[in-house]
Amino acid sequence: MLFFSYFKELVGREVTVELKNDLAIRGTLHSVDQYLNIKLENTRVVDQDKYPHMLSVRNCFIRGSVVRYVQLPPEGVDVELLHDATRREARGG
């Protein structure tokens, strides 16, 4: 649940979601649910030459299970806070 809570903090920020099929989509994080399904707005495909048909997509629902990485905005990452949170989550089981 930690990453769910953490991603919720990032709502409204720009993230890049990289899928297991190598497609990378950049957009504003609209929402995220407990399965880490991700909704993006104002999306654009990072590698537009490779995926021209995705060019125009404005809002997008990405299934959590197909996500490989989520690239976070550097200013949205509080390393100390995350450190503490992971430790706390670990102890709580």
């Binding site: 909704k39 021209p52 629902f61 299934r63 670990a90 102890r91």
Partner: protein, 225 residues
């Protein structure tokens, strides 16, 4: 299991309307019906208007003209879905969906999805649903989102149980003792040993028999001398 798009043939006619048969016994429910929707599979031409049925488990499209024809895809196989409105991407506003297929990615590239005029559904990785009324797109998108959220990965719970992270030495010891006792019982030493013992016993019996035979031979040998 991920299987991509498939033909859908479980169609019944009720009150003059043909509709899909859902797996009601396993809790499948119809969430939304959208008439006047064309379907585009991969880069193939659109198929004549049909009706879209969205259930809690899958997206079903039934042709209006050919009453035996339909396609279905489970929400489990839909990697992403989006609203596409840019005419450069597709001539009509549509719901765009990427489909995860069981096939290898290299094989699933669109060009080979048609062989001798027969559509190979297992190689279709993209689907577009084009409603005759573009104003329906947003509500369709929302229904897609709602139903996708109803279909998390089926293995998720098991994985969470199995993938126990280790955070302290205490936990390690607990796990170690647990592993010492449990697997040995689970693998079944008694079973294994029992079988082994019997095999050894049989071998010994055989050995004794051979020994006897040899002795007999010796005896006959000596008798002949």
């Amino acid at each position: 299991m991920v299987e991509g798009i498939r033909d859908f043939t479980a169609i019944v006619e009720r009150d003059g309307v043909h509709q899909p048969v859902l797996d009601a016994q396993n809790g499948e429910e119809l969430m939304h019906v959208q008439p006047g929707v064309s379907i585009v599979l991969g880069s193939h031409p659109p198929e004549s208007p049909g009706t879209l049925y969205i259930s809690t488990k899958q997206v079903i499209w039934l042709s209006d003209t050919n009453r035996a024809k339909g396609y279905a895809v489970d929400f489990l196989s839909i990697s992403l879905h989006a609203v596409s409105r840019d005419p450069e991407a597709y001539t009509s506003p549509c719901i765009y969906a990427q489909i995860e297929t069981g096939a290898d990615e290299d094989e699933s590239e669109g060009s080979d999805s048609e062989c001798n005029g027969v559509l190979d559904l297992s190689k279709i990785t993209e689907m577009r649903l084009v409603p005759s009324d573009p104003n329906q797109l947003d509500s369709l998108f929302d229904v897609f989102c709602e139903c996708a959220e109803l279909n998390p990965e089926p293995t998720e719970e098991n994985e969470e149980e199995e993938h126990n992270w280790i955070f302290s030495a205490d936990q390690l010891e607990d796990e170690a003792t647990g592993e010492d006792s449990e697997p040995s019982i689970a693998i079944g030493q008694s079973n294994g040993d029992h079988d082994l013992a019997r095999t050894v016993l049989e071998l010994q019996i055989n050995d004794q028999r051979f020994e006897d035979a040899e002795e007999m031979e010796h005896e006959t040998d000596s008798a002949q001398r």
